[in-house]
Symmetry: C2
Subunit: 295 residues, 2 copies
């Protein structure tokens, strides 16, 4: 009875026009569906260029409610294609209160639920703390007819606790809509190691938790203004199995649709051989809720 | 004021005679010291072959108290060589009560402290639950003049919680004395992926926590009896930096001493650029102390 399904990751570029980005996303979802995909994940904040490269009150105009215009369109597409769509959006929750939120849209054309990004970064050119209040829904899974889906977002991917808590809620696969790239000035010296660290820590989550991990990143060199160096988004969308083996991986610079069969039975096979969940010392993990532990 | 020190990993084979293994270990510690090492880590249970391949009450004779004969010898060596020695031992705590314990021995020739393996495996040929009671000292760090050292042991390496809790206690480096190898019948099909998963999950701990990770494994094909397939220990001892970059790595089948400079300042440099510790959602991590979370 263990299901198999096909997951698709839409690695794409985003232009200046949000309407055009949505149109492109819909086309690619339909294309992925035609390739046999059942669960389709778009990159983080796919409706726009990565606006967090600068801080500007006018940019909040990009935010929308959930349900709202984007989910209305995507719910129609999900129903029409009989797919689950994972859509990362700039959520307007109330005037002056915004989140980095991912909606999981079911085959029935309804919103199965939302996850609000829990870990919000703030580094040069990634000024997300300005735009997004931290999530208040905790870590979540979504039961679909294709399996139990966990959703985490970008910066969450560096946190083993986020992966673990989502795994403990029964996730078969963790989807990570992402927007990560190189500072052009750093790329030559640090670029390869940065990209490898990003991939490695997520493969580590797959291994430690015995589940699939699927990360989808954008591509393209986006500049918030002409004088800025901008960010070169590094693509490299990938799907790893519960052993950490990379089953599919995208390029660093091209639009691609990765479609990969997910054999849910593989999870139990791997976990029987490496029964990590059995031996967790839950009696001794209380300190995880500490910021730091001085002794 | 950030120190630098040299860490050494003693990748070695173990024979049937515990006295000979101790003698070899002492020679290799002295050799590492001559190579400039300050902190020297031996593999898991280096005094004997990996006895957990079978269950036999007579094997408990190998256990010893701490302090005991092994630490007595190694304390002398630590003082003589002016090094810190990390020594994994089969601890006899009381009649019928044994642990898989690592002693940290200081340059002064005293035992700085012990860590008792928290996560105890039990798989075919790794029957550790028979021999070792789970550790009851929690996760620990040891302040030395060369830096703050965290010690975890083998199966612990699959648990992000263990790495995180040790990191939160200020570790600059996690040492993992290890005994892991291939079942010969599985090696052709799964061997490369198993070894890569083992390395990847630990590199993930280095990245997620922004610290150094040093794992030291034994080599050699050990058979508990002539008719057994035994285990082929895969060596591959390695040291990764806080970015997950492998700085030094051993072979799969040869005795080797890896000596690597550890630049503690690199930790702060990496953490300033990737400030993961700042953003942990400690308000939402309470579920980590659950075995599983049914909803």
């Amino acid at each position: 009875m263990s299901p198999k399904f096909k997951a698709a990751l839409i690695q794409m570029t985003m232009g200046a026009d949000p309407a055009a980005n949505l149109k492109k996303a819909v086309q690619k979802v339909e294309e992925a569906s035609a390739m046999g995909a059942n669960v389709i994940c778009l990159p983080e904040l796919f409706r726009s260029q990565y606006f967090c490269q600068k801080e500007d009150t006018a940019i909040f105009d990009l935010a929308e409610t959930i349900p709202g215009p984007s989910t209305e369109t995507l719910c129609r597409v999900a129903k029409k294609t009989n797919t689950v769509i994972i859509a990362s959006l700039f959520e307007k929750r109330a005037p002056g209160l915004y989140h980095n939120t991912t909606a999981v849209i079911g085959q029935d054309g309804g919103i199965a639920g939302i996850y609000r990004k829990m870990h919000i970064p703030d580094d040069p050119s990634y000024y997300e703390k300005y735009y997004f209040a931290p999530g208040d829904l905790g870590f979540k899974t979504f039961k679909t007819s294709f399996g139990t889906i966990g959703v985490l977002i970008c910066w969450d991917q560096w946190y083993p606790e986020a992966a673990r808590l989502t795994a403990l809620k029964g996730a078969d696969i963790l989807f990570y809509p992402t927007a990560i790239g190189w500072h052009p000035a750093e790329k030559a010296q640090y670029g390869a190691d940065q990209r490898d660290a990003w991939r490695t820590v997520q493969r580590g989550h797959a291994i430690a938790n015995g589940l699939f991990v699927a990360a989808v990143n954008r591509v393209g060199h986006e500049k918030p203004d002409a004088s800025s160096a901008g960010l070169e988004f590094w693509g490299t969308s990938f799907i790893a199995d519960p052993f950490g083996v990379v089953l599919a991986e995208g390029s660093t610079d091209k639009e691609e649709i990765l479609v990969q069969e997910i054999d849910v039975a593989r999870i139990e096979e791997v976990r029987r051989n490496w029964p990590f969940l059995r031996d967790r010392r839950i009696d001794a993990f209380g300190g995880i809720t500490s910021r730091f532990i001085e002794e």
